[in-house]
């Protein structure tokens, strides 16, 4: 399997991107800064309007103001709402300054909002495991599902460490399946394309364009990372409680996110994995292991047949 190992590209470079050679465009992505997110959900709607995504059910969850609940085939931007009895700011010596000191003594209260999206991983599991080449790395370094190719095998769904991808069980809106099979549902896998078509036309993605407070920033990834570092330093200086970047570092388990975040608490609080790893990182080992098992099977069965009598 060292063949495969040799194919692995240096950390931080998106798999499959090099091949574009001169057609390769600057790698772009999102920096979602939750410290300015007002939870308006314009991103959710902008995304649906542009990408003609079907409505996703009208369920009142009681989970603060979040009735979208998760990213899935019909929701490519999802705003999480977390109400905490925890102050927004802490001053130098750790003492806490609650933004809200309502009522009785008032423990600090804060309301975290975060617009989640596909991470467009540098090393993307969905991309690796897709058996048809429907999922592919674009010239912009993003990861996109090609709807004319996807055959709905669903392998990418459990492969994604963020639970971003999902199969659409609603009726097909574009190129519906042939009638003979009598299928009603779309049956393909959908996720954020980082507005691939808009990028090709030189427009910024719909969600970033709509965002009223520029919590969602779009741009060249390199630039966004610099901006994020500066932002983190500023918030730290201002004593923001729990400020941290998530997915900014190319050395993490997925080689850094193409769409990374500034969070105000640990990732799992927002429903994000604290240490996502691209499952195919272990694939060479798994292949070796499998060949061994296969060999053992061959040897074992043959041996047990040859040795010992016919009865």
């Amino acid at each position: 399997m060292n063949v495969l190992a040799s194919l692995m590209e240096p950390a931080g470079t998106p798999d499959g991107w090099e091949a574009y050679g001169d057609d390769r465009k600057e790698r772009v992505g999102f920096f979602t800064d939750t410290s300015v997110c007002i939870g308006c959900k314009a991103c959710e709607v902008a995304c649906k309007e542009w990408n003609l995504i079907p409505e996703d059910g009208r369920v009142w969850t009681g989970e603060s103001y979040d009735h979208t609940s998760q990213l899935d085939a019909n929701t490519w931007r999802h705003v999480a709402f977390v109400e905490q009895r925890k102050p927004l700011l802490t001053n130098g010596d750790g003492a806490e300054l609650g933004v809200d000191t309502v009522g009785d003594g008032g423990t600090g209260l804060r309301w975290l909002m975060e617009s989640d999206v596909c991470k467009h991983c540098t090393h993307a599991a969905c991309l690796d495991v897709c058996p048809t080449g429907s999922l592919f790395r674009t010239e912009f370094g993003t990861v996109v599902v090609q709807q004319d190719i996807c055959n709905g095998c669903g392998y990418c769904v459990p492969a994604c460490p963020f639970g971003v991808l999902d199969k659409r069980h609603l009726a097909a809106t574009t190129d519906p399946p042939p009638a003979i099979l009598g299928r009603k549902e779309d049956g393909r896998v959908w996720k954020c394309t980082l507005c691939y078509d808009r990028l090709k036309g030189g427009h910024e993605p719909a969600c970033a364009k709509a965002c009223p407070t520029k919590s969602i920033q779009f741009g060249p990834l390199e630039e966004l990372r610099e901006r994020a570092d500066a932002r983190l330093a500023k918030l730290d200086a201002e004593g923001w409680n729990g400020a941290q970047l998530y997915g900014r570092d190319p050395d993490d388990g997925v080689g850094g996110f193409g769409a990374f975040f500034l969070l105000l608490d640990d990732p799992e609080v927002y429903g994000l994995p604290p240490d996502p790893v691209v499952t195919t990182r272990d694939l060479p080992e798994m292949w070796t292991n499998m060949l061994a098992a296969a060999g053992a099977l061959l040897a074992g069965v043959t041996a047990l047949t040859l040795l010992g009598g016919r009865r």
Partner: protein
């Protein structure tokens, strides 16, 4: 354990009943083609022929199962659009194509009793493609973000291999007269024993993540798997040689057991994906262990922006 309203972090697979069933048929097909060729070498033609037919049938059923699970069945051929070393499902499709093609060809020629050399060649190809076919499905599930699958990546191919052998042996001993079925019974029994041991090893490694094998459907199925396969193996070992009926019953029990085993692994994955605790805890442990994580706290210096953009 903190989470977002207890919602899952990763998605459950969208796969339906066809997939675990295919894990079984694929394994059966793969191991059978080995068994068939091996028997041929020892001149046990009865065993060879029956094993070949069993494999052929399993090989014919498998793609049907796979295709019917697709969201867009009419696009099944897109599987062969590419050759992706990073995609177990893609390579698996190629292997299934080769093994299935070879086995069915061999079986056809066997029936017609024609072109012996070609038949032999086909059997050899099938025998070589068989073991990968029987074991790659272990990698297929391990190569996901599902904790109970991914963390078991070392054992799963072996477990699936052993299970495949057991089912192939068991199936053969059902259709072959006991006087010719010795190898088949030995393989079945050995397979069941091996897989039992491997399962224990896996659960040992998994720790808390593995607890899903004792909960809900996965729990029930894994008990059924153990019960049925052990009972069947015992029956084959003790009375399989004398009584045809016991052989058939024993073989059936083992096959049923192996089917349950695949199902329990399958279901375990769903349960593991459903509860965010497994994702968070396994990752938090990893962070404790090797200090890696995806966050950058103030003061930490991440790699310079220059990289990876």
């Amino acid at each position: 354990m903190r989470s977002y309203y207890g919602r899952p972090i990763i998605k459950e697979p969208t796969w339906t009943w066809e997939i675990p069933t295919y894990f079984f048929t694929g394994g059966l097909a793969g191991a059978s083609s080995v068994l068939s060729s091996a028997a041929r070498v020892t001149g046990n033609d009865a065993l060879a022929r029956r094993a070949l037919y069993v494999g052929a049938v399993a090989d014919l059923v498998s793609p049907v199962l796979l295709i019917s699970d697709l969201g867009r069945p009419e696009r099944f051929h897109h599987m062969l659009r590419v050759v992706k070393v990073t995609s177990p499902m893609n390579l698996g499709s190629w292997v299934l194509l080769v093994n299935g093609g070879a086995t069915t060809t061999a079986a056809m020629l066997q029936l017609l009793g024609k072109w012996k050399p070609l038949r032999i060649a086909a059997s050899i190809v099938a025998a070589l493609a068989g073991p990968p076919l029987a074991t790659y499905t272990g990698v297929l599930v391990a190569d996901t973000a599902v904790p109970v699958w991914h963390e078991a990546r070392h054992e799963l191919p072996w477990i699936f291999g052993a299970s495949a052998a057991a089912s192939a042996g068991a199936a053969a001993s059902m259709f072959v007269h006991p006087r010719d079925a010795g190898p088949a019974r030995r393989i079945a029994v050995a397979g069941v024993l091996a897989e039992g041991a491997l399962m224990q090893a896996m659960e040992l490694r998994l720790g808390t993540v593995g607890e899903v094998y004792h909960q809900g459907e996965a729990g029930k199925l894994s008990w059924a798997a153990k019960g049925l396969s052990v009972a069947g193996a015992a029956l084959l070992a003790t009375r399989g040689r004398k009584s045809r009926a016991s052989a058939v019953l024993g073989g059936a029990l083992v096959c049923a057991g192996e089917l349950c085993l695949r199902w329990s692994v399958f279901k375990a994955g769903f349960q593991s994906a459903r509860d965010p605790k497994y994702v968070v805890e396994s990752q938090r442990q990893r962070i404790e262990k090797d200090g890696t994580n995806a966050t950058t706290k103030p003061g930490e210096n991440p790699a310079p922006p220059g990289r990876g953009a």
